[in-house]
Subunit: 200 residues, 2 copies
Amino acid sequence: MHIPQAFDVDDSTNIQTFIKNNPFATLTSTIAHKIVATHLPIDCLQDGKYYGHFARNNPQANISPDEEVCIIFSGPHAYISPNMYVSDFNVPTWNYSAVHCYGNIKFIEDETRIWQLFQDIVARHEGEMGWQLPDEKHYKNMLKFIRLFEFEIKSIEAKFKWSQNKDNDDIIAVITKLKTSGFHEAAACMAKANDLSNPR
Amino acid sequence: MHIPQAFDVDDSTNIQTFIKNNPFATLTSTIAHKIVATHLPIDCLQDGKYYGHFARNNPQANISPDEEVCIIFSGPHAYISPNMYVSDFNVPTWNYSAVHCYGNIKFIEDETRIWQLFQDIVARHEGEMGWQLPDEKHYKNMLKFIRLFEFEIKSIEAKFKWSQNKDNDDIIAVITKLKTSGFHEAAACMAKANDLSNPR
């Protein structure tokens, strides 16, 4: 990913928090030189590892453990009009965060482990008071139709592009206008990326 | 993209409307067998063609016109808990829309045409009363740092996965719960994908 220095993120805690908050990812790989992609949740569980699953009849469910794949995590984004700044001579742009993780897919075949991992994945999304995976035949049969995998990350590129190259007055003006336009998530990302608790 | 029949979309008007409403895309290609991606707006202009631009120092700004790229358009998405249905024996899933467009990048080198196209792109995002691209040297100099391209689409895969394989009572229950949880855009996508003006 092309990442100008102002938008380059290398704080691993910051990146992991972003992934946990935006688990719905795009898993890209190539099949016969053609790029293919699946949209799916990738969950970081309490062991610190990343897990996902394919429908078994998805062609990507046969990815080799040796093949490098790229999983793209995206978050809130917003069009930024030059009218949103207080300064002059700006151009339209788009603000966003994106994390590209390169690594390998390791399918898990042990049924007991698969069942436990699915319980953990469900618990992560549902919370303590939510739906729980029933320990019964109907649900265990459904596992035949999916392939669970661990995603072993080898390298990460992270870009949080939230006008960090602009002056503080511009940043505050854009955040205010994002909020008044209803883009509250984008406004929050922009405030965090610019560390507005410590104004420049 | 793996697309079960219930979620397969081939209506070109429907797909084009989705792209126009969700122009912030992910352009994927390969460089030395590694998948790379840029997040950028792709705009369908009044000529019916699709345009985008790279920073000139983005490695993808040298994509060959013969190389097939995949541009991914994404829209609202939402986690769907089994608790959101009225029926039993459901599992957690994620609902979403995604359009994968395969085609070629044709860079535009004619300065007059580039200037006109940027005016059209700005007008599309800003509307009639918004910011206009000033016809002056400062802005024309900035064009040196970017490469504008037309994206010639050769094939499209479109998946709108909004529980179309469920009964009407379940669909209505999920839409209601998405709305009460604040997922209004996802609720609207789900209502449209299930054509709730003509209940089954």
